[in-house]
Protein backbone atom coordinates (compact mmCIF):
# COMPACT_ATOMS: atom_id res chain seq x y z
CA UNK A 1 0.00 0.00 0.00
CA UNK A 2 1.31 3.36 -0.85
CA UNK A 3 0.31 6.91 -0.28
CA UNK A 4 1.20 9.83 -2.46
CA UNK A 5 0.79 13.42 -1.45
CA UNK A 6 0.80 15.92 -4.26
CA UNK A 7 0.16 19.54 -4.53
CA UNK A 8 -0.78 20.42 -8.04
CA UNK A 9 -1.23 23.99 -9.06
CA UNK A 10 -3.45 24.59 -12.03
CA UNK A 11 -0.84 24.44 -14.72
CA UNK A 12 -1.64 23.26 -18.16
CA UNK A 13 0.70 21.13 -20.16
CA UNK A 14 1.71 18.95 -17.24
CA UNK A 15 1.56 15.54 -18.89
CA UNK A 16 -1.09 13.30 -17.53
CA UNK A 17 -1.83 15.60 -14.67
CA UNK A 18 -5.08 16.73 -16.10
CA UNK A 19 -8.02 18.40 -14.73
CA UNK A 20 -11.55 18.32 -13.75
CA UNK A 21 -15.00 17.40 -14.66
CA UNK A 22 -18.19 18.47 -16.23
CA UNK A 23 -20.61 21.26 -15.63
CA UNK A 24 -23.79 22.60 -17.04
CA UNK A 25 -22.05 25.49 -18.70
CA UNK A 26 -19.17 23.19 -19.45
CA UNK A 27 -16.91 24.63 -16.81
CA UNK A 28 -16.92 23.32 -13.29
CA UNK A 29 -18.99 25.58 -11.14
CA UNK A 30 -16.26 25.89 -8.53
CA UNK A 31 -13.51 27.17 -10.75
CA UNK A 32 -12.00 30.51 -9.98
CA UNK A 33 -12.75 32.88 -12.77
CA UNK A 34 -9.99 35.33 -12.06
CA UNK A 35 -7.54 36.47 -9.47
CA UNK A 36 -10.33 38.00 -7.45
CA UNK A 37 -12.70 35.35 -6.20
CA UNK A 38 -15.86 36.86 -4.86
CA UNK A 39 -18.16 35.01 -2.54
CA UNK A 40 -21.91 35.28 -2.88
CA UNK A 41 -22.16 37.57 0.08
CA UNK A 42 -19.71 39.85 1.70
CA UNK A 43 -19.81 38.17 5.05
CA UNK A 44 -18.31 34.99 3.70
CA UNK A 45 -15.69 36.72 1.64
CA UNK A 46 -12.85 35.48 3.74
CA UNK A 47 -14.01 31.89 3.58
CA UNK A 48 -15.04 31.97 -0.05
CA UNK A 49 -11.61 33.19 -0.98
CA UNK A 50 -10.31 29.69 -0.40
CA UNK A 51 -10.13 28.30 -3.89
CA UNK A 52 -12.72 25.79 -4.89
CA UNK A 53 -15.09 26.31 -2.01
CA UNK A 54 -18.33 28.10 -1.61
CA UNK A 55 -20.75 28.50 1.27
CA UNK A 56 -23.94 26.50 1.17
CA UNK A 57 -27.07 28.48 0.48
CA UNK A 58 -28.87 26.59 3.22
CA UNK A 59 -26.68 27.04 6.23
CA UNK A 60 -23.47 28.75 5.21
CA UNK A 61 -21.52 25.52 5.52
CA UNK A 62 -18.39 25.57 3.39
CA UNK A 63 -18.75 23.17 0.48
CA UNK A 64 -16.39 21.64 -2.06
CA UNK A 65 -17.43 20.00 -5.28
CA UNK A 66 -17.21 16.25 -5.65
CA UNK A 67 -16.23 16.72 -9.27
CA UNK A 68 -19.62 15.59 -10.49
CA UNK A 69 -22.27 18.35 -10.54
CA UNK A 70 -25.07 15.79 -10.52
CA UNK A 71 -23.70 14.29 -7.32
CA UNK A 72 -23.20 17.75 -5.83
CA UNK A 73 -26.85 18.44 -6.40
CA UNK A 74 -27.85 15.25 -4.65
CA UNK A 75 -25.74 16.18 -1.67
CA UNK A 76 -27.25 19.61 -1.33
CA UNK A 77 -24.70 21.63 -3.26
CA UNK A 78 -21.50 19.77 -2.60
CA UNK A 79 -19.51 17.99 0.04
CA UNK A 80 -19.13 19.92 3.26
CA UNK A 81 -15.58 20.67 4.29
CA UNK A 82 -14.66 18.55 7.28
CA UNK A 83 -16.84 15.63 6.34
CA UNK A 84 -16.36 12.15 5.05
CA UNK A 85 -17.96 10.78 1.89
CA UNK A 86 -18.24 7.02 1.81
CA UNK A 87 -18.86 5.32 -1.52
CA UNK A 88 -20.18 1.78 -1.40
CA UNK A 89 -18.51 0.18 -4.36
CA UNK A 90 -20.38 -1.50 -7.15
CA UNK A 91 -19.85 -5.19 -7.57
CA UNK A 92 -17.05 -5.22 -10.09
CA UNK A 93 -15.53 -1.94 -9.01
CA UNK A 94 -15.99 -0.27 -12.36
CA UNK A 95 -17.86 2.89 -11.49
CA UNK A 96 -16.67 3.73 -8.02
CA UNK A 97 -13.10 4.43 -9.16
CA UNK A 98 -14.62 6.99 -11.51
CA UNK A 99 -16.23 8.89 -8.68
CA UNK A 100 -12.93 8.64 -6.84
CA UNK A 101 -11.04 10.11 -9.76
CA UNK A 102 -13.53 12.90 -10.36
CA UNK A 103 -13.06 13.95 -6.75
CA UNK A 104 -9.29 14.07 -7.14
CA UNK A 105 -9.44 15.77 -10.52
CA UNK A 106 -11.68 18.48 -9.11
CA UNK A 107 -9.09 19.00 -6.43
CA UNK A 108 -6.36 19.50 -8.96
CA UNK A 109 -8.24 22.02 -11.00
CA UNK A 110 -8.95 24.01 -7.86
CA UNK A 111 -5.40 23.86 -6.69
CA UNK A 112 -6.19 21.80 -3.62
CA UNK A 113 -3.65 19.57 -1.95
CA UNK A 114 -4.27 15.90 -2.47
CA UNK A 115 -3.52 12.84 -0.40
CA UNK A 116 -4.21 9.57 -2.18
CA UNK A 117 -3.97 6.15 -0.62
CA UNK A 118 -4.64 2.90 -2.39
CA UNK A 119 -3.64 -0.68 -1.83
CA UNK A 120 -4.62 -1.89 -5.26
CA UNK A 121 -3.07 0.63 -7.61
CA UNK A 122 -0.08 2.85 -7.28
CA UNK A 123 -1.42 6.27 -6.33
CA UNK A 124 0.93 7.94 -8.80
CA UNK A 125 -0.69 5.95 -11.56
CA UNK A 126 -4.13 6.92 -10.37
CA UNK A 127 -3.09 10.53 -10.69
CA UNK A 128 -1.88 9.96 -14.23
CA UNK A 129 -5.25 8.66 -15.29
CA UNK A 130 -7.49 11.42 -14.09
CA UNK A 131 -10.27 12.57 -16.40
CA UNK A 132 -9.80 15.60 -18.58
CA UNK A 133 -12.04 18.60 -18.19
CA UNK A 134 -15.14 18.78 -20.26
CA UNK A 135 -15.04 22.14 -21.96
CA UNK A 136 -16.79 23.79 -24.84
CA UNK A 137 -14.51 24.91 -27.58
CA UNK A 138 -15.65 28.46 -26.89
CA UNK A 139 -14.41 28.64 -23.39
CA UNK A 140 -11.58 26.25 -23.88
CA UNK A 141 -9.21 28.90 -25.07
CA UNK A 142 -10.20 31.21 -22.28
CA UNK A 143 -9.78 28.58 -19.65
CA UNK A 144 -6.48 27.48 -21.04
CA UNK A 145 -5.20 30.98 -20.82
CA UNK A 146 -6.57 31.29 -17.37
CA UNK A 147 -4.96 28.07 -16.33
CA UNK A 148 -1.63 28.76 -17.98
CA UNK A 149 -1.22 32.24 -16.85
CA UNK A 150 -2.83 31.91 -13.50
CA UNK A 151 0.22 32.75 -11.54
CA UNK A 152 2.22 34.82 -14.01
CA UNK A 153 0.14 38.01 -14.32
CA UNK A 154 0.06 38.36 -10.59
CA UNK A 155 3.73 37.77 -10.24
CA UNK A 156 4.45 40.23 -13.05
CA UNK A 157 2.43 42.87 -11.30
CA UNK A 158 4.20 42.19 -8.10
CA UNK A 159 7.51 42.61 -9.81
CA UNK A 160 6.48 45.96 -11.24
CA UNK A 161 5.40 47.34 -7.92
CA UNK A 162 8.31 46.13 -5.95
CA UNK A 163 11.00 46.03 -8.56
CA UNK A 164 13.80 46.63 -6.24
CA UNK A 165 12.91 43.53 -4.33
CA UNK A 166 13.12 41.29 -7.35
CA UNK A 167 16.56 40.25 -6.34
CA UNK A 168 15.34 38.93 -3.04
CA UNK A 169 13.92 35.41 -2.95
CA UNK A 170 10.20 35.36 -3.56
CA UNK A 171 8.25 34.48 -0.46
CA UNK A 172 5.20 32.45 -1.20
CA UNK A 173 2.26 33.71 0.76
CA UNK A 174 0.91 30.70 2.58
CA UNK A 175 -2.74 30.66 1.80
CA UNK A 176 -5.32 28.47 3.36
CA UNK A 177 -5.97 25.54 1.15
CA UNK A 178 -8.25 22.56 1.19
CA UNK A 179 -6.80 19.10 1.57
CA UNK A 180 -8.61 16.39 -0.34
CA UNK A 181 -8.04 12.88 0.94
CA UNK A 182 -8.89 9.85 -1.14
CA UNK A 183 -8.67 6.30 0.16
CA UNK A 184 -9.58 3.51 -2.19
CA UNK A 185 -10.94 0.06 -1.43
CA UNK A 186 -10.69 0.49 2.32
CA UNK A 187 -11.51 -2.74 4.08
CA UNK A 188 -10.58 -4.94 1.18
CA UNK A 189 -8.21 -7.85 1.83
CA UNK A 190 -5.45 -5.91 0.07
CA UNK A 191 -5.17 -3.69 3.11
CA UNK A 192 -4.58 -6.74 5.26
CA UNK A 193 -8.03 -6.73 6.86
CA UNK A 194 -10.25 -9.74 7.12
CA UNK A 195 -13.51 -7.82 7.14
CA UNK A 196 -14.38 -9.02 3.68
CA UNK A 197 -13.22 -12.55 4.31
CA UNK A 198 -15.17 -13.86 7.23
CA UNK A 199 -18.19 -13.03 9.29
CA UNK A 200 -16.43 -13.02 12.64
CA UNK A 201 -13.70 -10.64 11.73
CA UNK A 202 -11.00 -9.43 14.04
CA UNK A 203 -10.15 -6.22 12.28
CA UNK A 204 -13.52 -4.53 12.23
CA UNK A 205 -12.65 -2.50 15.29
CA UNK A 206 -9.46 -1.16 13.83
CA UNK A 207 -11.41 -0.03 10.78
CA UNK A 208 -14.12 1.67 12.84
CA UNK A 209 -11.59 3.27 15.15
CA UNK A 210 -9.70 4.55 12.14
CA UNK A 211 -12.85 6.07 10.67
CA UNK A 212 -13.67 7.75 13.96
CA UNK A 213 -10.26 9.36 14.42
CA UNK A 214 -10.18 10.29 10.73
CA UNK A 215 -13.44 12.12 11.14
CA UNK A 216 -11.99 13.85 14.16
CA UNK A 217 -9.08 15.01 12.05
CA UNK A 218 -11.39 16.14 9.26
CA UNK A 219 -13.56 18.15 11.61
CA UNK A 220 -10.59 20.05 12.96
CA UNK A 221 -9.06 20.87 9.60
CA UNK A 222 -9.90 22.29 6.23
CA UNK A 223 -10.23 19.01 4.41
CA UNK A 224 -12.67 16.64 2.77
CA UNK A 225 -12.29 12.93 2.34
CA UNK A 226 -13.63 10.30 -0.02
CA UNK A 227 -13.37 6.62 0.85
CA UNK A 228 -14.55 3.72 -1.27
CA UNK A 229 -15.43 0.52 0.53
CA UNK A 230 -16.36 -2.81 -1.03
CA UNK A 231 -19.44 -3.28 1.13
CA UNK A 232 -20.77 -6.00 -1.14
CA UNK A 233 -17.91 -8.14 0.13
CA UNK A 234 -18.45 -7.46 3.81
CA UNK A 235 -20.34 -10.39 5.20
CA UNK A 236 -21.12 -9.02 8.62
CA UNK A 237 -24.02 -6.59 8.25
CA UNK A 238 -23.31 -5.10 11.63
CA UNK A 239 -19.96 -3.86 10.38
CA UNK A 240 -21.62 -2.14 7.44
CA UNK A 241 -24.09 -0.47 9.79
CA UNK A 242 -21.29 0.74 12.05
CA UNK A 243 -19.23 2.02 9.15
CA UNK A 244 -22.27 3.89 7.83
CA UNK A 245 -22.91 5.48 11.22
CA UNK A 246 -19.29 6.60 11.40
CA UNK A 247 -19.44 8.37 8.04
CA UNK A 248 -21.15 11.59 7.17
CA UNK A 249 -22.40 11.06 3.63
CA UNK A 250 -22.90 7.58 2.24
CA UNK A 251 -23.61 6.88 -1.43
CA UNK A 252 -23.99 3.38 -2.80
CA UNK A 253 -23.48 2.30 -6.39
CA UNK A 254 -25.26 -0.69 -7.82
CA UNK A 255 -24.28 -1.55 -11.35
CA UNK A 256 -26.41 -3.69 -13.59
CA UNK A 257 -23.49 -5.73 -14.84
CA UNK A 258 -24.03 -9.39 -14.25
CA UNK A 259 -27.59 -8.98 -13.05
CA UNK A 260 -30.70 -9.67 -15.02
CA UNK A 261 -31.21 -5.96 -15.40
CA UNK A 262 -28.30 -5.73 -17.78
CA UNK A 263 -30.31 -7.31 -20.56
CA UNK A 264 -33.66 -6.04 -19.40
CA UNK A 265 -34.87 -3.54 -21.99
CA UNK A 266 -36.49 -1.46 -19.31
CA UNK A 267 -33.10 -0.51 -17.90
CA UNK A 268 -31.22 -0.23 -21.16
CA UNK A 269 -30.84 3.49 -20.75
CA UNK A 270 -28.79 3.16 -17.59
CA UNK A 271 -25.73 1.45 -16.25
CA UNK A 272 -26.81 1.15 -12.67
CA UNK A 273 -28.56 2.61 -9.69
CA UNK A 274 -27.21 5.09 -7.24
CA UNK A 275 -28.48 5.12 -3.67
CA UNK A 276 -28.00 8.02 -1.33
CA UNK A 277 -27.98 6.12 1.91
CA UNK A 278 -27.13 8.85 4.34
CA UNK A 279 -26.96 12.62 4.33
CA UNK A 280 -25.45 14.38 7.32
CA UNK A 281 -27.34 16.85 9.44
CA UNK A 282 -24.75 19.53 9.91
CA UNK A 283 -25.59 22.56 12.00
CA UNK A 284 -29.19 21.78 11.44
CA UNK A 285 -31.99 19.64 12.76
CA UNK A 286 -32.49 18.14 9.37
CA UNK A 287 -30.29 17.44 6.38
CA UNK A 288 -30.75 18.19 2.71
CA UNK A 289 -32.56 15.09 1.65
CA UNK A 290 -33.52 14.84 -1.98
CA UNK A 291 -37.09 13.87 -2.68
CA UNK A 292 -36.11 11.57 -5.49
CA UNK A 293 -35.09 8.18 -4.25
CA UNK A 294 -34.95 6.22 -7.48
CA UNK A 295 -31.82 7.42 -9.12
CA UNK A 296 -29.90 5.79 -11.89
CA UNK A 297 -26.59 6.61 -13.45
CA UNK A 298 -25.23 6.27 -16.92
CA UNK A 299 -21.68 6.63 -18.07
CA UNK A 300 -21.78 8.39 -21.38
CA UNK A 301 -18.74 8.97 -23.51
CA UNK A 302 -17.93 12.26 -21.87
CA UNK A 303 -20.21 12.51 -18.94
CA UNK A 304 -21.32 10.56 -15.89
CA UNK A 305 -24.94 11.45 -15.49
CA UNK A 306 -27.29 10.79 -12.63
CA UNK A 307 -30.96 11.07 -13.25
CA UNK A 308 -34.29 9.97 -11.96
CA UNK A 309 -35.05 6.42 -12.96
CA UNK A 310 -37.65 6.48 -15.69
CA UNK A 311 -39.18 3.24 -16.74
CA UNK A 312 -40.80 3.39 -20.15
CA UNK A 313 -44.55 2.82 -20.20
CA UNK A 314 -45.50 -0.82 -20.31
CA UNK A 315 -47.41 -1.57 -23.48
CA UNK A 316 -47.78 -5.31 -23.07
CA UNK A 317 -51.05 -7.16 -22.84
CA UNK A 318 -50.34 -8.63 -19.47
CA UNK A 319 -50.95 -6.66 -16.34
CA UNK A 320 -47.70 -7.46 -14.62
CA UNK A 321 -44.54 -6.02 -15.99
CA UNK A 322 -42.19 -8.85 -16.72
CA UNK A 323 -40.09 -6.99 -19.20
CA UNK A 324 -40.25 -9.53 -21.91
CA UNK A 325 -39.35 -8.33 -25.32
CA UNK A 326 -41.60 -10.49 -27.42
CA UNK A 327 -44.63 -8.30 -27.09
CA UNK A 328 -45.29 -8.24 -30.77
CA UNK A 329 -47.08 -11.53 -31.06
CA UNK A 330 -50.14 -11.05 -33.21
CA UNK A 331 -53.21 -11.03 -31.06
CA UNK A 332 -55.87 -13.53 -31.72
CA UNK A 333 -59.18 -12.69 -33.16
CA UNK A 334 -61.34 -11.70 -30.26
CA UNK A 335 -64.60 -12.60 -31.80
CA UNK A 336 -67.12 -10.99 -34.00
CA UNK A 337 -68.20 -8.56 -31.32
CA UNK A 338 -65.02 -6.57 -31.44
CA UNK A 339 -65.19 -5.70 -35.02
CA UNK A 340 -61.61 -4.71 -35.48
CA UNK A 341 -59.31 -7.03 -37.28
CA UNK A 342 -56.79 -8.41 -34.93
CA UNK A 343 -54.05 -9.11 -37.35
CA UNK A 344 -50.77 -7.34 -37.39
CA UNK A 345 -47.89 -7.24 -35.04
CA UNK A 346 -48.67 -4.21 -33.06
CA UNK A 347 -49.58 -5.08 -29.52
CA UNK A 348 -51.76 -2.05 -29.18
CA UNK A 349 -54.43 -3.66 -31.29
CA UNK A 350 -57.45 -4.69 -29.38
Amino acid sequence: MAAAATSCGPRAGAPGCVVAAAGKDSVTSFQRRGPRASGPDGGCRRLASIAGTRPSVRNGQLLVSTGLPALDQLLGGGLAVGTLLLIEEDKYNIYSPLLFKYFLAEGIINGHTLLVASAKEDPAEILQELPAPLLNDNCKKEVDEDVCSHKTPESNIKMKIAWRYQLLPKMEKKEKNVLRIGIQNLGSPLWGDDICCTENCNNSQSLTKFLYVLRGLLRTSLSACIITVPTHLIQNKAVIARVTNLSDTVVGLESFIGSERETNPLYQEYHGLIHVRQIPRLNNLIGDVSDVKDLAFKLRRKLFTIERLHLPPDLSDTVSRSGKQDLAEPTKLLGPGCGVTAGGKKHLDF
Binding site: Y212, T220, K237, A241, R281, N284, I286
Partner: protein, 266 residues
Protein backbone atom coordinates in the same frame (compact mmCIF):
# COMPACT_ATOMS: atom_id res chain seq x y z
CA UNK B 1 -36.53 22.29 23.26
CA UNK B 2 -39.68 21.51 21.39
CA UNK B 3 -42.78 22.75 23.19
CA UNK B 4 -44.92 20.08 21.57
CA UNK B 5 -42.68 17.34 22.87
CA UNK B 6 -42.82 18.84 26.35
CA UNK B 7 -46.54 18.73 26.09
CA UNK B 8 -46.50 15.08 25.10
CA UNK B 9 -44.12 14.20 27.89
CA UNK B 10 -46.18 16.30 30.28
CA UNK B 11 -43.22 18.19 31.56
CA UNK B 12 -41.80 21.70 31.56
CA UNK B 13 -38.36 23.01 32.47
CA UNK B 14 -39.69 24.18 35.81
CA UNK B 15 -41.09 20.84 36.77
CA UNK B 16 -38.32 18.57 35.50
CA UNK B 17 -38.24 15.25 37.27
CA UNK B 18 -35.15 14.00 39.05
CA UNK B 19 -33.35 10.74 39.36
CA UNK B 20 -34.46 9.44 35.97
CA UNK B 21 -32.73 7.58 33.20
CA UNK B 22 -34.10 8.45 29.78
CA UNK B 23 -33.18 6.27 26.84
CA UNK B 24 -33.33 7.68 23.33
CA UNK B 25 -33.36 5.14 20.59
CA UNK B 26 -33.50 5.42 16.82
CA UNK B 27 -34.18 2.77 14.24
CA UNK B 28 -33.76 3.42 10.52
CA UNK B 29 -33.71 7.13 11.08
CA UNK B 30 -31.72 9.79 12.85
CA UNK B 31 -32.84 10.47 16.39
CA UNK B 32 -30.41 13.28 17.07
CA UNK B 33 -33.23 15.84 17.20
CA UNK B 34 -34.17 14.30 20.54
CA UNK B 35 -30.67 14.95 21.84
CA UNK B 36 -30.97 18.61 20.86
CA UNK B 37 -34.32 18.76 22.60
CA UNK B 38 -33.06 17.43 25.90
CA UNK B 39 -29.90 19.50 25.81
CA UNK B 40 -31.82 22.73 25.43
CA UNK B 41 -34.50 21.54 27.84
CA UNK B 42 -32.11 20.94 30.70
CA UNK B 43 -30.11 24.08 30.03
CA UNK B 44 -33.32 26.07 30.20
CA UNK B 45 -34.27 24.22 33.37
CA UNK B 46 -31.13 25.66 34.96
CA UNK B 47 -29.52 22.26 35.46
CA UNK B 48 -25.83 21.58 35.39
CA UNK B 49 -25.23 19.52 32.27
CA UNK B 50 -22.30 17.28 31.41
CA UNK B 51 -22.48 16.50 27.71
CA UNK B 52 -20.35 13.69 26.35
CA UNK B 53 -20.65 14.44 22.64
CA UNK B 54 -18.92 11.69 20.69
CA UNK B 55 -20.50 12.17 17.32
CA UNK B 56 -20.48 15.80 16.30
CA UNK B 57 -18.50 18.88 17.04
CA UNK B 58 -19.30 21.58 19.55
CA UNK B 59 -20.19 24.12 16.90
CA UNK B 60 -22.84 21.82 15.47
CA UNK B 61 -24.70 21.57 18.79
CA UNK B 62 -24.16 25.24 19.41
CA UNK B 63 -25.68 26.36 16.13
CA UNK B 64 -28.68 24.09 16.55
CA UNK B 65 -28.97 25.13 20.18
CA UNK B 66 -29.18 28.75 19.12
CA UNK B 67 -32.11 27.87 16.92
CA UNK B 68 -33.75 26.34 19.95
CA UNK B 69 -33.03 29.28 22.17
CA UNK B 70 -29.96 28.32 24.19
CA UNK B 71 -26.38 29.39 23.80
CA UNK B 72 -23.90 26.65 24.56
CA UNK B 73 -20.95 29.01 24.60
CA UNK B 74 -22.58 31.13 27.28
CA UNK B 75 -23.56 28.06 29.27
CA UNK B 76 -20.03 26.73 29.06
CA UNK B 77 -18.53 30.00 30.18
CA UNK B 78 -20.88 30.23 33.11
CA UNK B 79 -19.96 26.73 34.19
CA UNK B 80 -23.40 25.35 33.57
CA UNK B 81 -22.24 23.13 30.73
CA UNK B 82 -19.27 20.78 30.72
CA UNK B 83 -18.69 19.65 27.15
CA UNK B 84 -16.50 16.74 26.15
CA UNK B 85 -15.95 16.92 22.41
CA UNK B 86 -15.18 13.36 21.38
CA UNK B 87 -13.97 13.97 17.85
CA UNK B 88 -11.51 16.67 18.76
CA UNK B 89 -10.31 14.87 21.88
CA UNK B 90 -9.72 11.65 20.00
CA UNK B 91 -7.17 13.43 17.86
CA UNK B 92 -5.45 14.72 21.00
CA UNK B 93 -5.44 11.29 22.61
CA UNK B 94 -3.97 9.67 19.55
CA UNK B 95 -1.37 12.14 18.48
CA UNK B 96 -0.29 13.95 21.58
CA UNK B 97 1.09 12.30 24.65
CA UNK B 98 -1.06 12.77 27.68
CA UNK B 99 0.26 12.95 31.21
CA UNK B 100 -2.87 12.33 33.19
CA UNK B 101 -5.44 9.80 32.03
CA UNK B 102 -7.74 11.29 29.43
CA UNK B 103 -11.46 10.44 29.53
CA UNK B 104 -11.10 8.83 26.12
CA UNK B 105 -8.06 6.84 27.12
CA UNK B 106 -9.64 3.65 25.85
CA UNK B 107 -8.93 4.77 22.29
CA UNK B 108 -5.27 4.05 22.77
CA UNK B 109 -5.81 0.63 24.22
CA UNK B 110 -5.57 -2.31 21.89
CA UNK B 111 -7.88 -4.63 23.78
CA UNK B 112 -11.33 -3.91 25.01
CA UNK B 113 -10.91 -0.83 27.11
CA UNK B 114 -12.78 0.19 30.19
CA UNK B 115 -14.54 3.44 30.68
CA UNK B 116 -13.34 4.26 34.14
CA UNK B 117 -11.47 7.45 33.13
CA UNK B 118 -14.65 8.61 31.40
CA UNK B 119 -16.67 7.93 34.54
CA UNK B 120 -14.16 9.87 36.62
CA UNK B 121 -14.51 12.75 34.22
CA UNK B 122 -18.30 12.71 34.53
CA UNK B 123 -18.19 12.49 38.30
CA UNK B 124 -15.75 15.35 38.51
CA UNK B 125 -17.85 17.47 36.20
CA UNK B 126 -21.11 16.98 38.02
CA UNK B 127 -20.04 16.99 41.63
CA UNK B 128 -21.68 19.83 43.53
CA UNK B 129 -19.51 22.90 43.88
CA UNK B 130 -18.36 23.79 47.38
CA UNK B 131 -18.29 27.53 47.03
CA UNK B 132 -21.36 29.69 46.76
CA UNK B 133 -21.64 29.56 43.01
CA UNK B 134 -25.01 29.69 41.31
CA UNK B 135 -26.92 26.73 42.60
CA UNK B 136 -27.88 24.64 39.64
CA UNK B 137 -31.04 22.67 39.78
CA UNK B 138 -29.81 19.11 39.41
CA UNK B 139 -26.96 17.51 37.51
CA UNK B 140 -27.68 15.95 34.14
CA UNK B 141 -25.51 13.62 32.10
CA UNK B 142 -26.15 13.58 28.37
CA UNK B 143 -24.38 11.10 26.10
CA UNK B 144 -24.49 11.19 22.30
CA UNK B 145 -24.22 8.38 21.62
CA UNK B 146 -23.38 5.12 23.33
CA UNK B 147 -23.40 2.91 20.24
CA UNK B 148 -20.27 4.52 18.89
CA UNK B 149 -18.36 3.29 21.95
CA UNK B 150 -18.88 -0.23 20.64
CA UNK B 151 -17.18 0.80 17.41
CA UNK B 152 -14.26 2.17 19.39
CA UNK B 153 -13.26 -1.05 21.01
CA UNK B 154 -15.34 -1.00 24.17
CA UNK B 155 -17.47 -4.03 24.90
CA UNK B 156 -21.19 -3.84 25.55
CA UNK B 157 -20.71 -5.01 29.11
CA UNK B 158 -18.17 -2.27 29.78
CA UNK B 159 -20.64 0.34 28.49
CA UNK B 160 -23.38 -1.09 30.69
CA UNK B 161 -21.02 -0.95 33.65
CA UNK B 162 -20.26 2.67 32.87
CA UNK B 163 -23.95 3.55 32.80
CA UNK B 164 -24.46 1.61 36.01
CA UNK B 165 -21.79 3.60 37.78
CA UNK B 166 -23.17 6.82 36.35
CA UNK B 167 -26.65 5.95 37.53
CA UNK B 168 -25.40 5.20 40.99
CA UNK B 169 -23.64 8.55 41.17
CA UNK B 170 -25.79 10.87 39.10
CA UNK B 171 -29.28 9.50 39.60
CA UNK B 172 -29.19 8.04 43.08
CA UNK B 173 -26.51 10.02 44.87
CA UNK B 174 -26.87 13.41 43.24
CA UNK B 175 -30.55 13.06 42.35
CA UNK B 176 -29.86 14.01 38.76
CA UNK B 177 -30.86 12.66 35.36
CA UNK B 178 -29.20 10.75 32.59
CA UNK B 179 -30.20 10.95 28.95
CA UNK B 180 -28.44 8.77 26.42
CA UNK B 181 -28.88 7.77 22.80
CA UNK B 182 -28.42 4.25 21.45
CA UNK B 183 -28.95 3.21 17.86
CA UNK B 184 -31.13 0.23 17.15
CA UNK B 185 -29.43 -1.72 14.43
CA UNK B 186 -32.62 -3.49 13.42
CA UNK B 187 -31.96 -6.24 10.96
CA UNK B 188 -28.25 -5.56 10.85
CA UNK B 189 -27.95 -8.09 13.69
CA UNK B 190 -25.43 -6.22 15.72
CA UNK B 191 -25.41 -8.48 18.76
CA UNK B 192 -23.35 -6.25 20.99
CA UNK B 193 -25.59 -3.32 20.21
CA UNK B 194 -28.65 -5.40 21.00
CA UNK B 195 -27.19 -6.40 24.34
CA UNK B 196 -26.56 -2.75 25.12
CA UNK B 197 -29.99 -1.65 23.99
CA UNK B 198 -31.86 -4.33 25.87
CA UNK B 199 -29.84 -3.82 29.00
CA UNK B 200 -30.51 -0.10 29.00
CA UNK B 201 -34.17 -0.52 28.15
CA UNK B 202 -34.70 -2.49 31.31
CA UNK B 203 -33.10 0.19 33.43
CA UNK B 204 -34.80 3.22 31.91
CA UNK B 205 -37.67 5.22 33.28
CA UNK B 206 -38.55 6.74 29.93
CA UNK B 207 -37.85 5.44 26.46
CA UNK B 208 -38.27 7.59 23.37
CA UNK B 209 -37.94 5.59 20.21
CA UNK B 210 -37.77 7.34 16.85
CA UNK B 211 -38.47 5.05 13.96
CA UNK B 212 -38.54 5.57 10.25
CA UNK B 213 -41.87 4.89 8.66
CA UNK B 214 -42.41 1.28 7.66
CA UNK B 215 -43.56 2.44 4.25
CA UNK B 216 -40.35 4.30 3.55
CA UNK B 217 -39.47 7.89 2.93
CA UNK B 218 -42.11 10.56 3.16
CA UNK B 219 -41.56 14.27 2.76
CA UNK B 220 -44.22 15.34 5.23
CA UNK B 221 -43.87 12.72 7.91
CA UNK B 222 -40.30 12.07 8.88
CA UNK B 223 -40.92 9.29 11.30
CA UNK B 224 -42.75 7.93 14.24
CA UNK B 225 -41.99 8.50 17.90
CA UNK B 226 -42.91 5.95 20.52
CA UNK B 227 -42.90 7.11 24.10
CA UNK B 228 -42.81 4.50 26.82
CA UNK B 229 -43.01 5.28 30.52
CA UNK B 230 -41.58 2.57 32.74
CA UNK B 231 -41.09 1.88 36.38
CA UNK B 232 -37.98 -0.26 36.46
CA UNK B 233 -37.58 -0.43 40.19
CA UNK B 234 -41.08 -1.45 41.08
CA UNK B 235 -42.04 -5.05 40.82
CA UNK B 236 -45.73 -4.53 40.32
CA UNK B 237 -47.11 -5.82 37.08
CA UNK B 238 -48.68 -2.54 36.17
CA UNK B 239 -48.81 -1.93 32.48
CA UNK B 240 -46.35 0.68 31.27
CA UNK B 241 -47.94 3.62 29.54
CA UNK B 242 -47.06 4.06 25.92
CA UNK B 243 -47.97 6.57 23.23
CA UNK B 244 -47.15 6.78 19.56
CA UNK B 245 -46.94 9.94 17.49
CA UNK B 246 -45.65 10.86 14.10
CA UNK B 247 -43.46 13.85 13.60
CA UNK B 248 -42.08 16.23 11.06
CA UNK B 249 -38.83 18.06 11.67
CA UNK B 250 -38.71 21.68 10.61
CA UNK B 251 -36.00 24.23 10.70
CA UNK B 252 -36.38 25.26 14.31
CA UNK B 253 -38.90 22.90 15.79
CA UNK B 254 -40.53 19.55 15.45
CA UNK B 255 -44.25 19.13 15.08
CA UNK B 256 -45.99 16.07 16.43
CA UNK B 257 -49.34 14.69 15.44
CA UNK B 258 -51.33 11.53 15.86
CA UNK B 259 -50.75 8.76 13.38
CA UNK B 260 -52.29 9.55 10.05
CA UNK B 261 -53.15 13.09 11.05
CA UNK B 262 -50.34 14.84 9.31
CA UNK B 263 -51.38 18.32 8.18
CA UNK B 264 -50.27 17.40 4.70
CA UNK B 265 -52.84 14.65 4.53
CA UNK B 266 -55.79 16.33 6.15
Amino acid sequence: MFPELNHLLNTTPDRAEQGKLTLLCDAKTDGSFLVHHFLSFYLKANCKVCFVALIQSFSHYNIVGQKLGVSLTTARERGQLVFLEGLKSSVDVFFRSQEEPHPLQFLREANTGNLQPLFEFVREALKPGDNAEAAWRCPVLLVDDLSVLLSLGVGAVAVLDFIHYCRATVCCELKGNIVTLVHDSGDAEDEENDVLLNGLSHQSHLILRAEGLATGFCRDVHGQLRILWRRPSQLTAQRDRSLTYQYKIQDKSVSFFAKGMSPAVL
